[in-house]
């Protein structure tokens, strides 16, 4: 290979590779005014009216609230139930915990999607869009296992809590579940308001709560925050997730690949040139 071909090749090569080079989005941390719900598990009585309101708001099959056997075992959300309430026994006390998508501030699912079908809206909720390919990488990535897939559909969607974003939030309404809660176990506001509220409740009744707001720091912060009377690992929460936002786990690696894409071609051309020259000299 001569010098002209070499330079030309380098030009074409780096052009192609730079063109496909991802730009890294930097995490800015949780936004103080993003929409947030505070769940006070000490107030929840397990009436499941939030489940019913959720089903109505999202046109899902409505749950049978009189069926108390649902508490016999731990349930997960599903493609037809975006929120479920589970019952835990802590000593003699029954504790009810509502689960749904946590709408992380810097979410694994959002960073995992190769076509941005899962988007963080500027108000905070994470919503799914129809340009999704159905690869289900978001399901692998989500540490809370919230994205659910319609396995029995020819045109499947990823289903999860929408935060009632398009139907209610943009019209200035609260999420349906928050409005339905008779115990004020769910409060809706901005993240800073909800954190302040949570800290106030802990400070006013230190004997009632453990001094921890789940979601304040977990995986970099979530838009659903929880208060509890007992340590969170006793009521079904994972406490081993750390405080690093998930996208950080792949950032360094992706940068390395960009480095490889830039540095390796000239090195290979150089090696090829050297090995040819060596062969010619032999």
């Amino acid at each position: 290979m001569n010098r002209r071909t070499f330079l030309k090749t380098m030009g074409i090569g780096s052009g192609i590779l730079l063109g496909a080079r991802p730009r890294i989005i930097h995490a800015s941390g949780p936004l103080p005014d993003s929409a947030t719900v505070l769940v006070d598990t000490t107030r929840c009585i397990g009436c499941r009216l939030c489940e019913e309101a959720c089903a109505q708001a999202n046109s899902l099959p409505e749950p049978d609230l009189s069926d108390l056997t649902v508490f016999d075992r731990k349930r997960s959300t599903s493609e037809t139930a975006f929120t479920v309430v589970n019952r835990y026994m802590a000593g003699d006390a029954e504790i009810h915990v509502k689960t749904q998508c946590m709408h992380c501030s810097d979410a694994a699912c959002v960073s995992s999607c190769l076509v941005n079908a899962l988007k963080k809206e500027k108000e905070g909720p994470i919503s799914w869009h129809t340009n999704c390919m159905g690869c289900r990488y978001c399901m692998v990535a989500c540490p809370f296992e919230m994205p659910k897939f319609e396995y029995h559909s020819a045109a499947p969607r990823i289903r999860k809590c929408t935060f009632c974003y398009a139907t209610r939030l943009v019209n200035g309404q609260k999420p349906a579940c928050v409005e339905a809660c008779p115990m004020e176990a769910l409060s809706f506001g901005t993240r800073s308001e909800m954190l302040q509220e949570a800290k106030g409740r802990i400070a006013n009744a230190p004997g009632t709560y453990v001094n921890h707001i789940y979601g304040e720091h977990e995986v970099g912060g979530t838009s659903w925050l929880y208060l509890s009377a007992v340590p969170f690992d006793q009521i079904g929460f994972r406490t081993d997730l750390g405080t690093t936002p998930y996208p950080v786990l792949t950032k360094g690696y992706l940068k390395t690949v960009h480095g490889i894409d830039l540095i390796v071609p000239p090195v290979l051309f150089g090696l090829a040139y050297l090995s040819r020259r060596k062969r010619d000299n032999d």
């Binding site: 690869c135 399901m139 792949t250 950032k251 992706l254 090829a272 040819r276």
Partner: protein, 412 residues
């Protein structure tokens, strides 16, 4: 000697016809499987993934991703390693197998990465990452998808000379030969990105993969293991091809087969030693060695000792004793190790605390076999027609000789 002088009278109709009797054992076994697989694929698209697979909300990826994509892509790693040794390091000993390896790589990527479409819930959106609807630039999957796509194209460019020789297109041959080294260099670069990238996907599964397997080094471990996995496939596939297509083998290919296998065994020994060192380093780094006494620890040790250390040692002794049977045993064992390793990431050590496990359904297995068998049919079709393992036309050999001389005068 020159069996390809008929290329001047190339006829597509003639070439499409089968060259051998229909009722061969291979056809009798594979044809019904492929037919059944096609029915299942139709069912899968009509009724959804749940009608055919055992996938669930807890196990979103199963055999199709685990085998077709992860194992298939690792086994296709031979194409970039052989290209590197032949074109970049100038190891001429590999000349006879470059083409067949590139063909294998191209077909593997087309079929196995192509089989990804079967697993996509919304395959009509499969090209969104290419056309910008939208570019999910922060996603490792985005990088892998682009790299898959570009690499398949580059392998096609590397293989076009064989097609050109087959149909006698000398102008195309010359045009493509000019860009061959460019395709090789970009191909190797891109292979480094996506071979590590299929591992990099699992960096986000930190909460789910057993700590003995989860590591920030996953991309590097996938990359290094793809190197020996690819070469093991070259050894395995080479021993089958040289038997099944004995009549087509060129003199060069036939006479150098043993030498090549032995030198590949040496290379595999080295790469597997590096891989083992990385695995041990990872164990110490993650401070996870205390988990070795658990059931998953035993499973981990079986993978690393049974299917890395032992085949590595067999490669070493096979290369020293020049024993092809020892080397082939080592290759098969190392390939089984790749199966175990990749399946661990997708469903065995994935969500390992989940009591309800994933097992592939018989339908998933049939569809996987369909993908493999269809690829083998296309492979056989190409081997029987194009100068891949057989003698190349005289004009191409003469021209390549001239070109080498040209390059030589320019380089000095």
């Amino acid at each position: 000697m020159d069996t390809q002088t008929t290329t001047e009278t190339f006829s597509l109709a003639q070439e499409l016809k089968p060259k051998r009797p229909y009722l061969t054992p291979f056809n009798v076994i594979t044809a019904p499987v492929i037919l059944l697989g096609v029915v299942l694929i139709v069912m899968r698209f009509a009724l959804g993934l749940g009608s055919v697979t055992n996938l669930s909300q807890d196990f979103p990826w199963g055999l199709w991703i685990g085998f077709d994509v992860l194992v298939g892509i690792a086994f296709a790693g031979g194409s970039y390693v052989i290209s590197f040794m032949y074109y970049i390091l100038g190891k001429k000993v590999y000349h006879p197998i470059v083409r067949v390896t590139v063909l294998n790589g191209f077909l593997s990527y087309s079929f196995y990465a192509g089989a990804l479409v079967l697993d996509l819930g919304r395959p009509w959106n499969a090209f969104n990452f290419l056309i910008g609807n939208e570019f999910g630039v922060a996603s490792v999957m985005f990088m892998v998808a682009w790299h898959f796509f570009l690499y398949t194209l580059l392998l096609l460019v590397e293989f076009v000379p064989a097609i050109a020789e087959w149909i006698g297109a000398r102008r195309l041959w010359r045009a493509v030969n000019w860009v061959n080294l460019v395709a090789v260099v970009l191909g190797i670069t891109i292979a480094l990105g996506h071979q590590s990238g299929v591992g990099g996907l699992f960096l986000l599964a930190k909460a789910k993969i057993h700590p003995l397997w989860y590591s920030p080094l996953i991309p590097l471990l996938f990359l290094v293991s793809s190197m020996f996995a690819g070469l093991c496939m070259v050894i395995f596939e080479g021993s089958i091809t040289s038997r099944a297509f004995r009549a087509r083998l060129s003199d060069e290919m036939g006479s150098t087969h043993d030498t090549i296998v032995i030198s590949l065994a040496k290379v595999c020994t080295g790469i597997m030693a590096v891989y083992l060192v990385l695995k041990i380093f990872d164990l110490l780094r993650g401070n996870t060695w205390s988990l070795l006494s658990t059931p998953f620890g035993a499973w981990y040790l079986l993978e690393v000792i049974g299917f890395v250390v032992i085949p590595g040692a067999l490669f070493f002794s096979g290369a020293r004793k020049q024993s092809l049977s020892v080397i082939k045993t080592a290759a098969v064992m190392a390939m089984i190790g790749i199966f175990i390793n990749r399946f661990n990431f997708v469903f065995i050590a994935y969500n390992w605390t989940e009591p309800v496990r994933y097992y592939p359904s018989w339908m998933e297995i049939v569809v996987t076999l369909t993908v493999i068998f269809t690829e083998l049919w296309v492979y056989r079709w190409a081997i029987n027609r194009m100068p891949v393992i057989s003698e190349r036309p005289r004009w191409a050999r003469a021209h390549e000789h001239d070109r080498d001389n040209d390059n030589r005068s320019q380089a000095v």
